[in-house]
């Protein structure tokens, strides 16, 4: 999705070395989630959501933790539309985020 709106997120400068890699891994998560959904593998979806929930805010990305939590809950409910909605939102977030290290 094309967007002109940049979403500025302030991240601890001590995490400057690892935060870009963390965001890159979330892009990979979107692919993994898509594959898992095609296979109705809700356990994997739940596990990915659980890990996003546990780690996102630690790196400074609260939205990732919130989205991970919603994915985890949707996986428990086997609710594919909500999971897909979360994946879209996550992709938008990753496309629009601008990280400033403070």
């Amino acid at each position: 999705m094309e967007t002109n709106t940049r979403l500025v997120v302030k991240v601890d400068q001590d995490l400057e070395d690892i935060a870009p890699g963390y965001l890159e891994n979330r892009r990979k998560d979107v692919g993994l989630l898509s594959t898992a959904l095609e296979q109705n593998d809700f356990n994997t979806v739940k596990m990915i959501g659980h890990r996003m929930k546990g780690s996102g805010a630690g790196y400074g990305f609260d939205f990732i933790s919130e989205t991970g939590s919603r994915i985890e809950q949707a996986a428990i409910a086997r609710n594919t539309p909500i999971i897909r909605d979360c994946m879209d939102q996550l992709t938008d977030y990753l496309d629009s985020i601008e990280v400033i290290y403070v």
Binding site: D12, D14, L15, R51, K53, G54, S55, G58, Y59, S65
Partner: protein, 244 residues
């Protein structure tokens, strides 16, 4: 220069491990990570660890059980991390012997503050000890140690000679009863210096102190050896202040 505090992180999420390792290393800590409880024991068997950060949801064992087992054999400080975040988990974690509990997600700065706090709490520097017990009278297992006069007495009131090193070591144990102390800690607390490779000072003084206390070295009751860790002074200690 003092060695960096060594933090062992047990979490199956590699990105949590990386987050903690990177952040703590930048703040002067040595960090080792493991993704399961088996790895925890392997690290403890070969390295000195100052504090463990333990996730509750491990692939091979429940973190609460790991914490309980750990506490049954050592006093190594433990901070539990968990995405569960329920109050009951926190209570159970603390009851299992954890020193602190932090729900996920957490900010690494908060974890850093908690680690420093727990390390401060679980350590007593020799200087603090000097201030704290310089007028103390300790009673343990029928023995009495009078700190101001540096005299050790048997149950019948007989004086037992202690060398300066033995006195310092006994005083450290009396300050930290029923807590595993590593050789490094014993040497730092009793002599104010760091252990060196092949340094057997503490083991030799332990051996002599056991003789003074009639503690059978083959089956000690007071100063017990904790394999791969150090020693624990295993008895009830009563303390009164001779000033009061």
């Amino acid at each position: 220069m003092a060695a960096a505090d060594h933090i062992l992180v047990i979490d199956d999420d590699q990105e949590i491990c990386q987050l903690i390792a990177d952040f703590f290393q930048k703040n002067g800590f040595q960090v080792t990570t493991s993704h399961n409880s088996k790895g925890l024991q392997e690290v403890l068997d070969r390295q000195k660890v100052d504090l463990i950060v333990l996730d509750l949801m491990l692939p091979d064992e429940d973190g609460l059980i790991v914490c309980r087992n750990l506490r049954s054999r050592s006093n190594l400080p433990v901070i539990i991390l968990s995405a569960r975040g329920e109050e009951m988990d926190r209570i159970i974690g603390l009851e299992m012997g954890a020193d602190d509990y932090l729900p996920k997600p957490f900010h690494p700065r908060e974890l850093l503050a908690r680690v420093k706090s727990v390390l401060r709490r679980t350590r007593t520097s020799p200087e603090e000890m000097e201030d704290n017990d310089s007028h103390a009278l300790y009673r343990f297992a029928g023995w009495t140690l009078d700190v101001p006069t540096r005299q050790l007495y048997t149950e019948k009131g007989e004086k037992i000679f202690l060398s300066g090193g033995e006195f310092a070591l006994l005083r450290v144990f009396l300050n930290h009863p029923n807590r595993v102390l590593t050789r490094d800690q014993l040497l730092a607390f009793s002599h104010g210096r760091e252990i060196e490779p092949y340094d057997r000072t503490i083991d030799m003084q332990i051996s002599r102190l056991r003789r003074r206390l009639n503690d059978d070295p083959k089956s000690p009751e007071l100063i017990k050896t904790v394999r791969s860790l150090g020693y624990v002074f295993s008895t009830r200690v009563e303390r009164t202040d001779s000033k009061s």
